[in-house]
């Protein structure tokens, strides 16, 4: 029961568009939220510039609880929350909610570890010049860690393409949904091959852009 490719390609283009949309919106939201959570995590840790034990402990525990949950489980487990926030459990928007939630905590860890790799001496130099903690975060930490941060975001972007495909199989839109409904449920190998190819191309583009940007920032 093969699909008619002369008409089916439109569905592939639409699905690709949906995937790109889901991934980009999720990346934008989770990058911002994750950056914020990661910064708080970094600044409140022991010996940090805004050391705060309770805040760090709560955030750290929250991340450690959420991150090990496989995305396919998270998306199902979160579905009641998704329904109350987004209004529905199916479609592109419904998929974005759990993706943002899970990705935010992933990004937070990436941000935290990249900020930790900034030499403490540089931060001390800024302190010695009279810079305030927030000033240090915005004008020293983020610029100094920008190269690795971009690579970290790229890593997250690639992971999100994967997430979006998973979301597609449980009611989200995009390429994953196409692969599930036509490739898997209707045993159409050609759809499977094409969707996998689309995903590979998307990942390649994401990685390439990330590498280019990081190289520009790192000047090497």
């Amino acid at each position: 029961m093969s699909v008619d490719w002369s008409r089916f390609w439109v569905k592939v283009v639409d699905a690709t568009g949906e995937t790109v949309y889901m991934v980009l919106v999720t990346l934008a939201l989770s990058a911002l939220l994750g950056l914020a959570v990661g910064l708080v995590l970094y600044a409140t840790r022991k010996g940090g510039i805004l050391q705060n034990r309770p805040v760090f402990a709560v955030l750290n525990a929250l991340i450690n609880v959420i991150r090990p949950v496989p995305f396919i489980i998270a998306i199902v487990a979160l579905s009641p929350v998704t329904r109350s926030v987004v209004g529905t459990m199916i479609g592109t928007e419904a998929a974005i909610f759990p993706m943002v939630l899970v990705a935010t905590f992933g990004v937070a860890r990436i941000v935290e570890s990249n900020l930790l790799s900034v030499e403490p001496g540089v931060i001390e130099a800024a302190r010695s010049m009279g810079a305030s903690p927030w000033r240090i975060i915005l004008t020293v930490l983020i610029p100094e860690a920008l190269g690795p941060l971009i690579l970290g975001f790229t890593f997250m972007l690639v992971a999100l393409i994967d997430f979006s495909a998973v979301a597609g199989t449980v009611g989200g839109g995009g390429v994953g949904n196409l692969a599930m409904t036509y490739g898997y449920l209707r045993f159409d190998t050609s759809v499977m091959v094409v969707t996998v190819a689309v995903l590979i191309v998307l990942v390649q583009i994401a990685q390439l852009l990330g590498n280019l940007l990081a190289r520009k920032v790192l000047r090497r």
Binding site: E124, S128, M129, A131, S132, R135, V140, E144, R219
Partner: protein, 340 residues
């Protein structure tokens, strides 16, 4: 200018054991005169790094008071303290330059913090770079510079806000001897031309001898000896000071070297100090002649400390034993003797 009154810094034990807290700085009192170059010397772990960070309150003392320009930093809030820090420049062993900024961007950073208009930030950053002789490297990035150049950028950055005090944390320890000389010469200009008080910490007595007016020797968090550099060099009292002074002057042969000298020289070995003016050395040549003694030089280490000669010479004396004894007695009476 800077006054430390009974300042201590105690760190709680890392493993939480009782009674094993660490006193990095222990009851230190020091006064640093305006316009002077003050050196703090000590082995690693002596507490000098912590001491330096107490001066600009990067480390908050456990007890005691830190006064800069008569202002008790402990009495100020964190915001006011940050304002004071802008008048205290700091230079680091590992330079600590911002990799994400150009040379000019690094020097401009503290100026931007002080909220100056953009044009003035640029003008003053360029002026600071000219002072350290790196104006032509303004557009480069730190990794494109040599170690000595990076440290000069660090100094320019610390000077950009026209501070009254410059704190140097082992500023030359990561540099080779020639570059060390260049950076020390620059620091000397900072002191003499700009009138900036310099506090530097180092484990190299040569640095102290090179540019300091006054020195404090630290061990186990305490200042064990302090005073003018010439006094400390010519009359070291504490064993740590003695070994530091020897490391810079190389004036007295140590155990193994002395054994080799004894094996090579048959006569009596006598170490004579050289200091102050030429009168002292005149004294011995006169006495040697009077007692008709011959000598050869076995070991010598004489250099300049604060533009005055200092060191000692070890002579092998040849002549009748009683003549040598008489010579040594007379020298001792003149207050100059020391037998090896």
């Amino acid at each position: 200018m800077i006054e430390l009154r009974g300042v201590s810094k105690v760190y709680p034990a890392r493993d939480g054991k009782r009674g094993s807290q660490f006193r990095a700085v222990d009851e230190v009192s020091l006064t640093i005169r305006e316009g002077s170059v003050f050196g703090v010397v000590g082995h690693s772990g002596a507490g000098k790094s912590t001491l330096l960070r107490l001066v600009n309150y990067l480390e908050v003392p456990t007890s005691g008071a830190v006064l800069v320009d008569g202002q008790d930093l402990g009495a100020l809030g964190e915001r006011r303290r940050r304002a004071v820090r802008q008048s205290i420049g700091m230079v680091f062993q590992q330079f600590n330059l911002f990799r994400s900024r150009t040379v000019l961007g690094n020097v401009a950073y503290p100026l931007k913090l002080s909220g100056l208009p953009r044009a003035e930030v640029r003008a003053r950053a360029e002026e600071a770079l000219r002072f350290v002789g790196l104006a032509e490297h303004a557009r480069r990035y730190p990794e494109q510079l040599s170690g000595g150049q990076r440290q000069r950028v660090g100094i320019a950055r610390a000077l950009a806000t026209s501070p009254k005090v410059l704190l140097c944390d082992e500023a030359t320890s990561a540099l080779d001897p020639q570059t060390t000389g260049e950076v020390l010469a620059l620091l000397q200009r900072v002191n003499s031309e700009l009138g900036i008080t310099i506090v530097l910490i180092t484990h190299e007595m040569d640095v102290v001898r090179g540019i300091c007016d006054e020195v404090a020797v630290m061990e186990d968090g305490k200042v064990v000896e302090s005073g003018s550099v010439y006094d400390v060099f010519s009359r070291p009292e504490h064993p740590t000071t003695v070994s530091f002074v020897r490391s810079a002057l190389h004036d007295v042969p140590d155990g193994a070297a002395l054994e080799r000298l004894r094996a090579r020289h048959g006569g009596r070995l006598v170490t004579l100090p050289v200091s102050g003016d030429s009168a002292g050395t005149h004294e011995w040549s006169r006495l040697l002649r009077r007692h008709e003694l011959d000598f050869s030089i076995a070991h010598a280490g004489v250099g300049e400390v604060q533009s005055r000669p200092l060191g000692s010479v070890t002579l092998e004396l040849r002549g009748p034993d009683d003549a040598i004894d008489a010579f040594l007695t007379e020298l001792a009476a003149a207050g100059k003797a020391a037998a090896a």
